[in-house]
């Protein structure tokens, strides 16, 4: 595309079928403890 550059190829819709295994880290357990952040967490199945 000439006018648009898309940064990511993974679509959230596609994670509905296979997601939700629950093996990922709890959000607060890493380095925040007060401001919930999940966008930066890793999917255990993608490791």
């Amino acid at each position: 595309m000439k006018h648009i550059k898309t940064l990511n190829t993974k679509k959230l819709q596609n994670t509905v079928k296979k997601g939700g295994c629950g093996e990922c880290q709890t959000s607060c357990q890493s380095a925040c403890k007060t401001s919930c952040t999940v966008g930066n967490q890793t999917c255990e199945n993608a490791r």
């Binding site: 648009i4 898309t6 993974k10 679509k11 709890t26």
Partner: protein
């Protein structure tokens, strides 16, 4: 839902429901803003008019009808590929997901309700959590690990954070619990991931070696510049703690190969120029940095106010631009709240279902009492049970279970909902008396951080 913004020279378009992120030229940016409201002819006419004075080479070609139509065709392609103007189809899915039987997968163990610092902003009442000074016994800790294993279902990875107060004030129990956990994980086919949060005062070679062997992550509390740190984090006698902890933390971070740790600071109304603290930590050699806003009562002198937001936004922008400049150099560092995984990030269930407090994640006091998370400890209204008898107040866990972004009016229409998962329940409760609300200042800052994090990705994609 589409969120558009400009940052550091980039025109960014976030298609909220697919998570697709697009960097676009000025004409396309304007066209996207009009796309759902106006027909094609109207958009062409308006944009031709807007850009008629532009020099022909400003956009790599004259902005004429052909140029605008080409941009519109690209927008339409993305829409058809469900990467733009995507509908929200997740509400029922998340409702079902949240109603499923949950397991406990993480515990925050309050190894010591005691502390050797007297931090002004301590939500834990200088370690005591509005109770008495108390250390967790091995028996209570052991019962907590047993409780976790028994309530974890088929989940393999279990997380345990040694927290406080200051957990190194009761380190023998930490060591004994790790040994017990390692023994139990073999029996039950589980894997414990231990973490430690410490202020560094008692840190020594023995603790570092132990942590490097056993702790998947360590969180090292330091606020940044000496004067900022010493003012907010004094020792009991009032003297600063910066000189005590900095050399230890530097040694600790190096001994972990600058990985699997965070130096974690808190900024307040007293250091709104917090980007200087982040850069100070980077200058000290730390590569994994997390500095975040204080949570305080409105009446506290150090509380962040709405009038501080403009300056804080500028600080985040400046920090993000600086990180782009440093990328790939030996001055590079990670900032926890700007990290965003665009390819291997969490699934939509994780993104929308909340932080897990009160259901998957519980806090355990030195006496073995269970609370929804560390932030609720000491508030008797949220006492859920104890590690010996399990969760007795299932009404509390049910309330937390029902807490997701669709249960929060403010989150429904927010572009950042897939990145913060509805925010911190404790913050919401502290400010609104209800876990189904949101802490507005925290939300404003979270949104800014998401925008900056995406801008960094856009800049790095361009540089690559």
């Amino acid at each position: 839902m589409v969120h558009q913004y400009k940052n550091n020279g980039y025109n960014i378009v976030l298609d909220v429901n697919s998570g697709a992120i697009h960097v676009v030229d000025d004409v396309t940016y304007d066209a996207i803003a009009m796309y759902e409201e106006s027909d094609r002819d109207t958009i062409v006419k308006k944009l031709k008019d807007k850009y008629k004075e532009c020099p022909p080479d400003a956009f790599g070609g004259k902005v004429d009808e052909a140029y605008i139509c080409e941009a519109l065709d690209e927008i339409e392609q993305l829409r058809q590929r469900q990467e733009l103007f995507t509908q929200d189809v997740y509400e029922d899915y998340i409702g079902d997901f949240k109603r499923r039987p949950t397991v406990v997968k993480a515990l925050c163990l309050h190894i010591a309700h005691d502390c050797n610092l007297k931090c002004r902003y301590c939500f834990a009442d200088e370690g005591e959590y509005h109770g008495k000074r108390e250390l967790m016994s091995f028996e209570v800790g052991k019962a907590a690990l047993d409780f976790l294993i028994a309530n974890s279902g088929s989940r393999k990875n279990l997380e345990v954070d040694f927290f406080g107060g200051e957990p190194t004030m009761n380190f023998q129990v930490v060591k004994d619990l790790v040994a017990y956990g390692r023994e139990q994980e073999k029996i039950h086919d589980k894997k414990f991931r231990f973490t430690l949060t410490t202020n560094g005062v008692l840190l020594n070679d023995e603790i570092m070696e132990f942590a490097n062997r056993e702790m998947g992550n360590v969180v090292l509390s330091i606020d940044g510049r000496r004067e900022i740190h010493d003012y907010m984090r004094p020792a009991k006698g009032g003297q600063g703690s910066y000189d005590t902890v900095v050399p230890k933390f530097q040694k600790f971070a190096d001994s972990r190969n600058q990985n699997n740790y965070y130096v974690r600071g808190t900024f307040t109304h007293h250091n709104l120029d917090f980007s200087k603290d982040v850069l100070h930590l980077a200058k000290l050699g730390f590569k994994q940095i997390s500095v975040e806003p204080v949570v305080a009562r409105e009446t506290d002198d150090y509380a962040i106010r709405e009038t501080d937001l403009e300056q804080l936004f500028a600080e985040y922008d400046a920090l993000a631009a600086e990180m782009v400049k440093r990328h790939g150099t030996d001055q590079d560092f990670n900032f926890f709240h700007f990290m965003i995984d665009l390819e291997g990030g969490p699934c939509v269930a994780k993104r929308l279902s909340g932080c897990g407090s009160g259901t998957e994640y519980l806090a355990v006091t030195p006496a073995g009492d269970l609370y929804p998370c560390h932030q609720f400890v000491g508030n008797e209204k949220f006492l859920m049970g104890n590690v010996f008898d399990g969760v007795v107040r299932t009404d509390i866990s049910d309330e937390f279970k029902g807490c997701n972004v669709y249960a929060k009016e403010k989150c429904r229409e927010c572009f950042a909902k897939f990145y913060c998962s509805g925010g911190c329940a404790a913050n919401s409760y502290n400010f609104h008396g209800d876990i189904h609300n949101a802490y507005d200042i925290g939300c404003a800052l979270q949104k800014k951080r998401v925008e900056c994090a995406i801008m960094i990705k856009a800049a790095l994609a361009e540089n690559n």
